[in-house]
Symmetry: C2
Subunit: 419 residues, 2 copies
């Protein structure tokens, strides 16, 4: 008999309980024994819930009950989720979580504790919602060196960008619509400033490269400065603006000890890319392996039942693991394998105001050599837009500074990525 | 120590051996013990191969060697692969295969034998090449009822259709190019007639619905009759022609005992679909679950290293299973849960010749009510094309017969699918 506790009875927690009871028969067939949710931890009362009898406000009920061998954490946030999960692992209980903040900040430590206590710490639901990505990535890794991962990892910002692209909305209009539809929180900072994507790319990069990548070390830029003009230029260039979390091995020190560059930023993505057609609230994650080539995973990145179904898949895997530790492991690390993002080789789209277009073109050519000039309908006389050649970002920025020195006003710059 | 035998030293077999030795260190770290290829079975000599000392022509060397606990089958075809794999499983050796013909024809039997002998029979590489699909599908299944699966499962035909769409080639021109580039065999029947896709959708459907679906019971139509005109009409309709293998639960008898309809056919797919952007030799597989919604897996569906990397991922899983049977199981079945494909509800694109367009339109409206008329550049005066409303295919065909009776010549019909 697998006895489970669910911590947090919000959207994901209640979804997980529902999926467990809706699919109870098929889950039990898969794990070969009965399954039961014994406790639901939440500080609120839910007198009308069919699971009201399982509710407790005291974490110790769970921690001290030896019958509980699997704990599902769906509280979100770092505290008290971190303390609770750590205590459970130390007490020999496996933990399944959808909490990307927790995994991105404390993954290496919790994986280590799980391993020492011969239990599992699984987090399929922390990235990509209902899209299986953590375990497939682990599978890809089995026979591949992963060179790069890039993804549209946040449905809210992708919805906003899709509305800006397809319906010519401004950022503010699209954000307001996202809030109206319940896709964005009243405080949308974590989404639109890229923090949510940052946590997710940290989890994926840690798994792919075997060493913990901490969010505070990843350059993160959100979508609040993207304008309708930028979106239009992206289309004229042959692509779209997407918020991309990406991480790339630079192979400077050989494959095994490779340096890694990682970033979250809005980017021009070619319409040929599989990521370009990931629209609305969907997520898409591209894994570039040396043997498999590009593999892409696509689906709903959030939502009650998609996320709950990933939680339940983890619960089943823990139950099937039968008391052995199958933890997907990476190790803690000082962050010296992360190279400065200014060293990343890429191109940039630049939009600028100038006094005289011909002079500006000459200046641009002097700095960058041949560039791709972009156009848009009703372009003001004094606006110029182009895509630079590929070089280290720091170099590009030096040249852009020269454009400013030469009298041009830079209106926007957006990276151009090759996914 | 895991000792492995590889049967078949062609493209996939030699790729598997290479990947094992190239990633030996990382594989051994994952499985926690040394790994070695002890035998390679092939009837040819490979005197220049670095693995020449491992070659044998006698299957009994493998079968009778108790040190061999994992056998990789990369011979292809039903015989002698079936006998060899069966003998290995009966002798307590786990089998990993990329052989879709074998799994589609004998999967239920070999899974049953593996289970009885407490060994594993894995076949991740049999569908989607390097794209992880078998195990992610199994994961999705854990907490989902799968309602539908649809995929572009054959890279050769997808390459041909892409060339017809993008470069306006005829079928014959595109096939010749595919042969020139080594994507198509000199006898391309298995690809262009849909048999390869049929085997793959049978494997996916068997896994999703828990009962073996045999290829001979699946209506299969290839792409040889697709014309440049059809491709043009698909574009004017807002999509593309793709060869789709699909299987769908009809839920007639409730979810658990659902009837299933499955088919391989060229189809109009809307350009909004994630499958529409799967081009060239790539594969894309859409899984529609009740909790996750649509999840799509995309990548290279064939090729030496992608396929080999899936084989090696399976080898690692077998080695980690440590002598326990983790077989992904479905059961044999009489095929009475498969309903007649004529009962499937869908729409059809119809292209026809008529004497008089106005008369033809009236006749069409009498039969189908409102239809979507399609147009193309330089359309001959006596050609008419349209998309029917959605209804059972059998009904559509009855109405089409009436069009013929009314004097119209049907030039082509292609199904319109909602993926």
């Amino acid at each position: 008999m697998s006895k489970i506790a669910v911590m947090g009875f919000g959207v994901v927690g209640s979804g997980t309980v529902e999926v467990i009871y809706n699919s109870k028969e098929s889950i039990e067939r898969k794990i070969g024994e009965p399954i039961e949710v014994k406790y639901i931890l939440d500080l609120h009362d839910f007198p009308d819930s069919p699971y009201a009898d399982k509710l407790t406000k005291d974490f110790n009920d769970i921690l001290k009950d030896d019958e509980i061998d699997i704990v599902v954490e769906a509280m979100g946030g770092l505290n008290p989720a971190y303390d609770f999960c750590k205590s459970c692992l130390l007490a020999g209980k496996s933990v399944v979580t959808s909490n990307k903040e927790l995994v991105a900040a404390k993954g290496a430590e919790l994986l280590e504790i799980a391993s020492q206590n011969n239990v599992n710490f699984f987090f399929e639901a922390s990235v990509g919602g209902g899209v299986p990505i953590i375990r497939p990535l682990h599978m890809c890794l089995a026979a591949n060196e992963i060179n790069e991962i890039a993804g549209i990892l946040n449905g809210t910002t992708n919805f906003i960008l899709t509305k800006m692209i397809r319906e010519k909305m401004t950022f503010d209009e699209a954000l307001a619509l996202a809030q109206e539809l319940g896709y964005a929180e009243s405080d949308p900072t974590a989404d639109v400033d890229g923090h949510d994507s940052c946590r997710k790319i940290c989890i994926l990069a840690s798994l792919a490269f075997g060493r913990h990548v901490y969010p505070e070390n990843i350059y993160t830029e959100g979508i609040t400065k993207i304008t309708a003009e930028d979106v239009e230029y992206a289309a004229s260039w042959g692509g779209a603006v997407k918020l991309i979390g990406w991480a790339k091995a630079t192979h400077k020190n050989g494959v095994k000890e490779s340096d890694v560059v990682a970033m979250v930023c809005p980017a021009f993505i070619s319409s040929d890319s599989q990521l370009a057609s990931v629209d609305d609230v969907f997520n898409g994650i591209l894994v570039r392996g040396d043997a498999t080539g590009d593999v892409v995973f696509y689906g709903k990145g959030a939502g009650k039942y998609p996320t709950a179904s990933s939680m339940v898949a983890d619960v089943i895997d823990v139950a099937k693991a039968n008391g052995t530790s199958q933890t997907l492991t990476w190790v803690d690390s000082n962050q010296d394998f992360l190279i400065d993002y200014k060293e990343a080789e890429l191109a940039k789209y630049v939009r600028a105001e100038c006094e005289n277009k011909d002079d500006a073109k000459q200046l641009i050519q002097r700095e960058f050599g041949e560039v791709t000039l972009l156009s848009r309908k009703n372009c003001p006389k004094n606006e110029i837009a182009f895509v630079t050649p590929i070089m280290a970002e720091g170099k590009i920025d030096e040249h852009i500074k020269k454009l400013k020195d030469g009298g041009m006003t830079i209106l926007s710059t957006i990276r151009v990525l090759d996914y």
